[in-house]
């Protein structure tokens, strides 16, 4: 009797470990990149923009994203913390998922205020509309001069508006039709939905079912109940925290250009 009990205990430990191994999926986060604010399109961490500028940016960026899925994001930070602006921008771009996941039509304007550097990083999907030379030219025309004169609001807004104009053009829109047109963009379904199960997934499914049977037979279903309970809890947690805007899962291959002032 005792030995059976002992074995049962071990078996349930084994079950817990196996389930944790199957369910868990490591998620890594790099520390140095800030997370996006709920405004998403304008994140003034360096505090150099006034609220009017931020509102102007939002009033263009939000409808643009609603109608085309293209996301133009402005981020100001104080320091790059030892990284070069190219890697910082690329990391932030990918972590925030700027632009649509399939179209990769995001643009990032990054200002490192204390380091006196700026960068426009362009997602794959907009590299045609905004090639490297053009992004350099835009910064020369709108950003560098204004920043040298200390006009940060004008510099950022001018650069942003020029960028959005180029993106409108790419989609055959202009500011007026954008405001009136009753067209809305719906993001492509993110699930890889061919609906087919792989052999590995079927096997894992079978194993999980056997675990559950064992659990119910030997352990009165304690582990199953626990797993279901945590799953339900994390699901309800995940559905909270809505509101605000966020990235569409876009990526960038490092296109764009950098300037210093």
């Amino acid at each position: 009797m005792r030995t059976i009990k002992f074995r049962k205990k071990h078996l349930s430990t084994f079950l817990v470990i196996a389930l944790v191994l199957i369910v868990s999926n490591g998620i890594g986060f790099s520390e140095s990149i800030p997370s996006a604010t709920s405004d998403f399109y304008v994140n003034d961490f360096a505090d150099i923009l006034d609220s009017e500028t931020e509102q102007s940016i939002m009033s263009v960026a939000v409808p643009l994203a609603e109608k085309t899925g293209a996301q133009i994001v402005v981020v100001t930070i104080d320091f790059l913390e030892g990284q070069d602006i190219e890697s910082y921008a690329n990391k932030l771009f990918r972590e925030w998922g700027i632009g649509d996941a399939k179209k990769n039509n995001g643009v990032l304007l990054l200002i490192a205020y204390e380091d006196r550097q700026s960068r426009i990083e362009v997602g794959y999907g907009l590299e045609g509309a905004l090639n490297d030379a053009k992004t350099g030219r835009i910064q020369d025309d709108y950003l560098v001069g204004n920043f040298q004169a200390g006009d940060y609001n004008e510099g950022v807004l001018g650069t942003f508006l020029k960028l959005s104009e180029e993106v409108y053009k790419e989609y055959g829109l202009d500011a007026d039709t954008l405001a009136n047109q009753n067209v809305y963009y719906f993001p492509s379904d993110e699930q890889s939905g061919d609906g087919k199960l792989t052999l590995g997934e079927i096997l894992i499914g079978i194993i999980v079912v056997i675990f559950m049977i064992l659990d119910i037979l030997l352990n009165r279903g304690r582990i199953t109940r626990f797993v279901l309970y945590t799953a339900a809890r994390s699901a309800s947690k995940g559905s909270r925290g809505g509101g605000g805007f966020r990235g569409g899962g876009g990526s960038s291959g490092g296109g764009g250009s950098s300037r210093s002032w």
Binding site: E86, A133, T198, G200, G253, G254, G256
Partner: protein, 191 residues
């Protein structure tokens, strides 16, 4: 009777888990192997793109700084070396040599104010810097999937099977010291 049933179920679980692991690891390796070649071709695309940019850039610089013969020669040499390179290791060496020569070219341009303010040169330098950065990103992405691939193929149980299935370890595309730095040109005109 109940005991016997439990033993059978446990055995089935163990066998199914083992078979499942090998099959899913094999599939994972196939996917990763595919990703490794895709990322490598991404690097190749960008290397080609830079290769196409160089003649224009060199011509433009020559128009203002024809006397800097040494740098033009080292660029031409590194460029042909990269074109002839095969295999990841050889390519990554030739790549960092060419990157070094190109960043010296951009550094030299600092001494020629007329060149620095030439619109055509600014455009080409931006395209070059952008392409160098794309190479850096593609290289990083490649190394990440190569590391994933190697990790899976070298750990149990695939270390027993990887050779049998014909999986060779992926070589890393390494940048030489200092070659990661994307060349930057300071176009700002100081007031």
């Amino acid at each position: 009777m109940k005991k016997g049933l439990i033993v059978i179920i446990v055995l089935v679980v163990i066998v199914a888990a083992l078979a499942g692991t090998v099959i899913s690891k094999y599939n994972q390796l196939v996917t990763l192997n595919e990703e490794v070649s895709v990322s490598l071709s991404q690097i190749d695309n960008q290397l080609q793109r830079r290769n196409d940019l160089i003649p224009n850039l060199v011509e433009t610089v020559k128009g203002y700084a024809a006397q800097e013969k040494e740098i033009f020669e080292s660029i031409a040499e590194a460029r042909s070396k990269l074109i002839g390179a095969t295999g990841v290791t050889e390519k990554s060496e030739a790549d960092s040599e060419l990157s070094g020569a190109l960043s010296r070219l951009l550094a030299i341009s600092e001494n020629y104010p007329d060149l620095k303010s030439n619109q055509n040169f600014i455009q080409l330098a931006d395209e070059l810097a952008g392409t160098e950065n794309r190479i850096a990103v593609a290289r990083q992405d490649y190394n990440t999937v190569a590391a994933d691939f190697n990790k899976v193929s070298k750990s149990f149980p695939m270390n027993l099977f990887a050779k049998m299935f014909g999986f060779e370890p992926a070589a890393y595309f390494e940048a030489a010291e200092g070659a990661e730095d994307v060349p930057t040109v300071d176009f700002s005109t100081q007031p």
